[in-house]
């Protein structure tokens, strides 16, 4: 009897503790999200999207430059990073399937995914900013693309591996060369999975700040010239939140809100596609 009771109590205690831990963890996380949503929504207004920043310490103005710049940098990062990632993943899953090199590159990519993004910023500064003689949007896009490549590569590899081998064999039987089989059969079969990988990789880089600090830098004006410094929401948040002006703080909350919502929508979309496709 005593032993049973002791076991029961121990179980109760342990289970309550882990429930508490879970609640505690979730509490902080909900707190952050709630805070961003609450402060962000109240800071939103139309001027934010239509105007460029006012001079320091003057109220008003907006972040049009940063919104446009962020979109531009992310767009070009996607255009550079996604093809390389998808093609690289194709090699691992198709031509090098099961070979040693495929494993090595796979593991290296997994490591690359978590390499400190600020290190990538310093790397791109050394190869693209200093030699070209100015901070520029391309450098920012390329820094983000470097972060995207391993993410897209790995998901593509996984998704292609899930396409049944028999599908390919059926196409081979019709006399199609391998590259045609890949493009017309395998990619089609794995399309939604690859798309998810791309969406999630965009979500991953859209909120990156550290690699942009020394590459795309910042610009107080609306500019779509990628050869010049380009503003981004994240770098602006860093500058504004660390600055002393209350109007900056408000705008930083608004920018944080927009970025967070954008990233969350992408993440949810990615998950939904997986759910819808693979269930």
């Amino acid at each position: 009897m005593n032993v049973v009771l002791k076991r029961k109590i121990e179980g109760m205690v342990a289970i309550s503790l882990s429930t508490l831990a879970a609640l505690f963890g979730l509490f902080w996380l909900v707190f952050i999200l709630g805070d961003v949503l609450y402060n962000g929504i109240s800071a939103l207004n139309l001027d934010l999207f239509l105007n460029d920043p006012a001079p320091a310490g003057v109220d008003g103005g907006g972040l049009r430059n940063a919104f446009a710049g962020q979109l531009l940098i992310t767009l070009f990062a996607t255009l550079i990073g996604v093809p390389i990632g998808v093609l690289g993943g194709t090699f691992l899953a198709e031509y090098a399937r099961g070979k040693g090199i495929s494993k090595v590159i796979g593991v290296l990519s997994d490591i690359m995914v978590s390499v400190p993004s600020i290190v990538i910023g310093t790397f791109v500064y050394a190869i693209l900013v200093r030699p070209l003689g100015h901070f520029n949007g391309w450098a920012g896009s390329i820094a983000l693309a470097i972060i995207m490549i391993p993410v897209v590569l790995r998901t593509t590899e996984d998704m292609l591996s899930m396409v049944p081998w028999t599908l390919r064999e059926a196409a081979f039987a019709l006399g199609a060369p391998y590259y045609k089989v890949i493009i017309q059969v395998v990619y089609r079969g794995a399309a939604s999975g690859i798309l998810t990988g791309i969406i999630l990789s965009i979500a991953r880089v859209a909120g990156e700040t550290a690699p942009l600090l020394f590459t795309s830098f910042n610009n107080a004006y609306f500019s779509v010239n990628m050869n010049q410094p380009v503003s981004s929401l994240t770098v602006t948040i860093f500058q504004y939140a660390m600055g002393p002006y209350d109007s900056w703080h408000t705008q930083a909350w608004a920018a944080a809100f927009v970025i967070t919502v954008f990233v969350l929508i992408l993440t949810i979309a990615g998950r939904l596609i997986i759910k819808w496709r693979y269930k």
């Binding site: 121990e10 882990s18 999200l33 690289g88 031509y95 390499v115 060369p177 600090l213």
Partner: protein, 311 residues
Amino acid sequence: MLSKKNPLDMLFASITAISSFAVILLIAGILFVLVHESWPAIERFGIVKFFFDTDWNPVTESFGAATNVYGTFITTTLSIIIAIPIAIGIAIFVTEISPDFLKGPIGGAIELLAAIPSIIYGMWGLFTLSPIMSGLIEPFLKTITQDIPIISALFAGPPMGIDLLTASVILSIMIIPFTASISRDSFRLTPEVVKESAYALGATKWEVIKHIVIPYAKLGVFGGVVLSLGRALGETMAVAFVLGNNHRITSSLLDAAATITVTLANEFAEADKDIYLASLFYLALVLFVLSFITLAIAKFFLLKAERKYSR
């Protein structure tokens, strides 16, 4: 499969091969560029001396990494210590305790939270957490520890809310979802059959968790923790807001400090002398190598876990 006769096929194969080698090329490129750029500093300060020199002084042009390495070490260690129990608690809750209809939403929420950009955590830390730390938590910690000889030294100095402790708390909040979701995936590896048979023998829920689920998931969870450690090592924005960039080694957790990442973020674009910039590249190199090793270890354990249970 690869028909050697078809030139288009060869072309496509080469393009994909080059794309995938981009990863190796990038890693090698980063390593080469960092070594090349930091060479003047490596030559001048050496390796061992750079690591253990606590002087980071742009006026005298004397640079040592010790204060930065120390800050990185303390914040990551502390944040992992805070995060592990909570993350594992969440993982246990989601896989074993929670009623089924809550499993999905809570799991999803955790994954969403892992997706929130780190700069949001950092900014929230400055605006919301820092006042809470300096006004409430830090004075409380000071009061309860003031009579305990060694521990009180950990909380010496005025509670500013911009210090090692606040930075570590932010960092831990940031890696909790990450660690939790890996741990959860590892817990799920436990075969239902084994669990069922334990229940059939009259084991309580906790006993099943303790004797079956956790041993099964051990390797995976460990790999996950090391992976989180690697993440925390390289995290910049979450800590940059509340660390106070101070190049000193202090015993108090209520003092400002510097990590490798924050030093880079604050000083990289504005280092005026060449040797200063070279030293910053050297710091980046140190960080790259440290995190690479950590992540490789994590990967090793995760692969081992996968191999062990996916048979």
